[in-house]
C-alpha cells in the first residue's frame, strides 16, 4: 500500500506544483487550423512584449481542436487565458453556459472583437472539369459538393449561410426560394463530415466530390499541402464574411493574474505587425492598407455578414441549425 500512497502523493504534488512556480503562462485555446499562424504570431508577440512593452518572461501555450469542442473544454475548466475562435457562437457560449466572460465581450475590442476575417470559397479538381464558377453551379444535377455538417462545424455553418445569403439576395429576399436553393445544394452533398478537417480529407485525400466549400485560408493551405497542380480555388461572385472573434477569459485571467498580458496579446493582433502576419497566413486583415497590399491573394468580392442575411448568430442558430430547424427539415430527404 505504500506504493499506492506514493502514487497518490505524486498525483497531488503534480496537481499542486504547477501554478505559481515558473514564469507566467498564457494559454491560447484556438480552433484547429490556426497552429501555423499562432506559432509565428507567438514569436512576434513575445519579442514585442519583452522589448516594447517591457514585460517580463512569458510562456505561451497553445491548444487546438474543433472549435465547438474547444469552447466546451473551456467551460468545463480548461483554463484558457485567451480564446481565438472562428465563429462568435463559440465565444458567446462561454458567457451563457459558463459565466466565464461578460455577455458584451464582442464590444471590448474593435471590429466586434474579430481582428481577422475570412470567407467561403470553392476548391475544385485540376482543370475544373465540372465547370464550377458560382453558387448556381453547385445545385446542378450530378455535381457532388463536400460541406461539413452545419450542426457541428463553423465551416459548415458559414458555408450554409453563404449559400442562403446568396440565394436570398438573388431572390430579392424571398425566403422560400432561398430555402429551396439550400435544399437543392445539400441534396448534392454525399457525406456530411463533422468538421472542416474531415471534409478536407474526404475531398482531397479520399477523392470524393467535385467541389469542396471551405474557408479562404484553409483553401490556401489545402493547395499547399496537396499540390497546387492538383486543385484549383474558385472565387464565387459573392460570399459570406466570416469573422474570427477573440476574447480574454475574465474568470481565468483574474485567477492567473494575466489580464494585462492577455489583453496585450489580443490587441497586438490589430497592430500593423499583427495584421501583416495575419495576411501572410491567408486570413483577411481588418487594416485596409495591409489588405490592399495583399490584394493578389484576397480577391475583392461582395461579402455579406451573418447579421445581414440571418439577423445575427443567435437568430441563425435558432432558425437554421437548432434541432427541427430549417437545416433539419431540408436535409430530411
Amino acid at each position: 500500500m505504500t506504493l499506492l500512497r506514493t502514487c497518490l502523493l505524486g498525483l497531488v504534488l503534480m496537481a499542486g506544483a504547477r501554478p505559481g512556480l515558473a514564469e507566467p503562462v498564457l494559454l491560447n485555446v484556438s480552433y484547429d487550423v490556426t497552429r501555423e499562424f499562432y506559432k509565428d504570431y507567438n514569436a512576434a508577440f513575445l519579442a514585442h512584449w519583452k522589448t516594447v512593452s517591457g514585460g517580463g518572461p512569458l510562456t505561451i501555450n497553445q491548444s487546438h481542436g474543433g472549435s465547438s469542442k474547444q469552447a466546451r473544454s473551456v467551460i468545463d475548466g480548461l483554463q484558457a487565458d485567451v480564446v481565438t475562435m472562428n465563429q462568435a457562437p463559440d465565444i458567446d457560449i462561454l458567457a451563457t453556459a459558463g459565466h466565464l466572460i461578460p455577455a458584451d465581450w464582442a464590444q471590448r475590442l474593435p471590429n466586434h472583437s474579430a481582428p481577422t476575417t475570412s470567407t467561403i470559397l470553392f476548391v475544385v479538381r485540376k482543370g475544373n472539369p465540372q465547370g464550377i464558377h458560382d453558387w448556381e453551379d453547385l445545385v446542378r444535377r450530378g455535381v457532388s459538393v463536400v460541406i461539413p455538417n452545419p450542426k457541428t462545424s463553423g465551416n459548415g455553418r458559414y458555408s450554409y449561410l453563404a449559400a442562403w445569403g446568396y440565394a436570398l439576395r438573388q431572390a430579392g429576399g424571398d425566403e422560400a426560394k432561398a430555402t429551396e436553393f439550400v435544399r437543392r445544394l445539400f441534396a448534392n452533398v454525399p457525406v456530411l463530415d463533422t468538421g472542416g478537417r474531415g471534409a478536407t480529407t474526404t475531398f482531397a485525400q479520399r477523392g470524393i466530390g467535385d467541389v469542396l466549400l471551405t474557408f479562404e485560408n484553409e483553401a490556401a493551405l489545402i493547395r499547399r499541402e496537396f499540390g497546387a497542380d492538383q486543385l484549383e480555388v474558385i472565387v464565387p461572385s459573392a460570399s459570406i464574411l466570416a469573422e474570427n472573434p477573440v476574447a480574454w477569459v475574465d474568470r481565468y485571467v483574474l485567477k492567473h493574474g494575466t489580464e494585462p498580458v492577455a489583453r496585450a496579446y489580443l490587441e497586438y493582433l490589430y497592430s500593423d505587425e499583427g495584421q501583416e502576419l495575419v495576411a501572410r497566413h491567408f486570413f483577411r486583415p481588418r487594416n485596409a492598407a495591409i489588405l490592399a497590399k495583399y490584394s493578389d491573394r484576397f480577391p475583392a468580392i461582395p461579402l455579406y455578414t451573418v447579421d445581414e442575411v440571418a439577423g445575427g448568430w443567435a437568430a441563425a442558430q435558432r432558425r437554421h441549425f437548432a434541432d427541427g430547424g430549417v437545416f433539419d427539415q431540408l436535409y430530411r430527404k
Partner: protein, 293 residues
C-alpha cells in the same frame, strides 16, 4: 437386446476408418485454409503496419528523426510513459488485491465487486472521460472548489493519469481471478496450518503461483495504457507540450496535414506495441514451460 451390443461392435470399424480422414483433410483444403488465414493477416495486419512505416519514412530518415525529436513529440512521449508508469503499478496493486479477495474469500457483495471491476470494459472510453469531466470539471461537483484551491485535475496531467488508470483497471484483475479460482485456496490453507502468517502466505505461496498470469496482465495493461485514446482525449485539453499523449499527438499532426510526423510518432507507438507482443509471447512460452515442469 443382447444382440444389439455385438452389432454395434461389428459396425464400429467403419467409423474408425473414417476418423483418419476427418482429422487429416485433403491437402488442398489445408493449403486453402492456411492461405486464407495468411492473406487475412497480410491485408489486415502486415500491410497497415508496413504502411505506417513507409509513410513515416517517405521523406527520409532525417525527417523521421526530426519529427520524433521535436519538443512537442518528446513531451507527448514523456507524458505517455509517465501515465503508464503510474497507471500500471497502481492497477498491479489494486488488481492483485481485488483478485485475491474474490478468488480466496467468501463475502457478501462479491458478485457486485466482480461486476464493478468489469465496468471500465463495459462502458465506452469516451464515457469514462466524461465521468471525470462531470466530477472534476468546472461545471461538475468539485469544479469550483478545485479552482478556488488551485488544483488542476482534468485538462492537466492528473486527469490523464486518472483516465488511463480507470480504463486499464480490469486487465490485471481479470487475468488473475480465473487463475486464482482454478488454483483454489488449498495451498494457502496448508501454509497457514504450518504456521505461516498472512504476508508469508502471500509472498511465498500465492505470488509464485500467479506470477506468469500477473506478468501477462501487466503487459496487456501497459499496452492499453500507452495506446488509450478516447478517455484521454476528453480530459486532455490538447495543450501542446503539456497534456498531449502520443495517440493524441498523432491525431493532431494528422489533422494538420503533417503526415510524415504523424506516422513517425505512430510508428513509435507501433514499435512499443510490437515490443509488448514479443514480451507477451515470451511470457506465454515461459508460462507453458513452467506448467510442464
Amino acid at each position: 437386446m443382447a444382440t444389439a451390443i455385438p452389432s454395434t461392435l461389428v459396425v464400429s470399424p467403419a467409423p474408425a476408418g473414417m476418423t483418419p480422414r476427418a482429422t487429416h483433410d485433403p491437402v488442398w483444403v489445408r493449403w486453402t485454409l492456411t492461405a486464407v488465414a495468411l492473406l487475412f493477416l497480410l491485408f489486415f495486419l502486415v500491410l497497415p503496419l508496413a504502411a505506417v512505416f513507409t509513410e513515416a519514412l517517405r521523406r527520409g530518415v532525417g525527417a523521421y528523426f526530426a519529427a520524433v525529436r521535436e519538443p512537442d513529440a518528446l513531451a507527448a512521449i514523456r507524458l505517455t510513459l509517465l501515465a503508464a508508469a503510474i497507471a500500471v503499478p497502481s492497477n498491479l496493486v489494486f488488481g492483485v488485491a481485488a483478485a485475491w479477495l474474490i478468488a480466496k474469500f467468501q463475502f457478501r457483495g462479491k458478485s457486485l465487486l466482480t461486476t464493478l471491476i468489469d465496468l471500465p470494459f463495459a462502458v465506452s472510453p469516451v464515457i469514462s472521460g466524461l465521468i471525470y469531466v462531470l466530477v472534476f470539471g468546472l461545471q461538475g461537483w468539485f469544479g469550483e472548489w478545485l479552482l478556488d484551491h488551485d488544483i488542476k485535475i482534468i485538462f492537466a496531467v492528473p486527469g490523464i493519469v486518472l483516465a488511463t488508470t480507470f480504463v486499464t483497471f480490469p486487465f490485471v484483475a481479470r487475468e488473475l481471478i480465473p487463475l486464482m479460482q482454478a488454483q483454489g485456496a488449498d495451498e494457502e490453507y496448508a501454509a497457514i496450518t504450518l504456521g505461516a502468517n498472512g504476508w508469508q502466505t502471500f509472498w511465498r505461496v500465492t505470488l509464485p503461483n500467479i506470477k506468469w498470469g500477473l506478468l501477462y496482465g501487466v503487459i496487456l495493461c501497459n499496452a492499453r495504457a500507452m495506446g488509450e485514446f478516447g478517455a484521454v482525449s476528453v480530459v486532455s485539453g490538447h495543450i501542446r507540450g503539456e497534456t498531449n499523449t502520443m495517440p493524441l499527438h498523432v491525431e493532431i499532426l494528422y489533422n494538420e496535414y503533417n503526415f510524415v510526423a504523424a506516422f513517425a510518432v505512430a510508428s513509435l507507438l507501433a514499435l512499443l506495441a510490437i515490443v509488448t507482443l514479443v514480451l507477451k509471447a515470451l511470457v506465454e512460452w515461459r508460462h507453458a514451460q513452467s506448467r510442464q515442469a
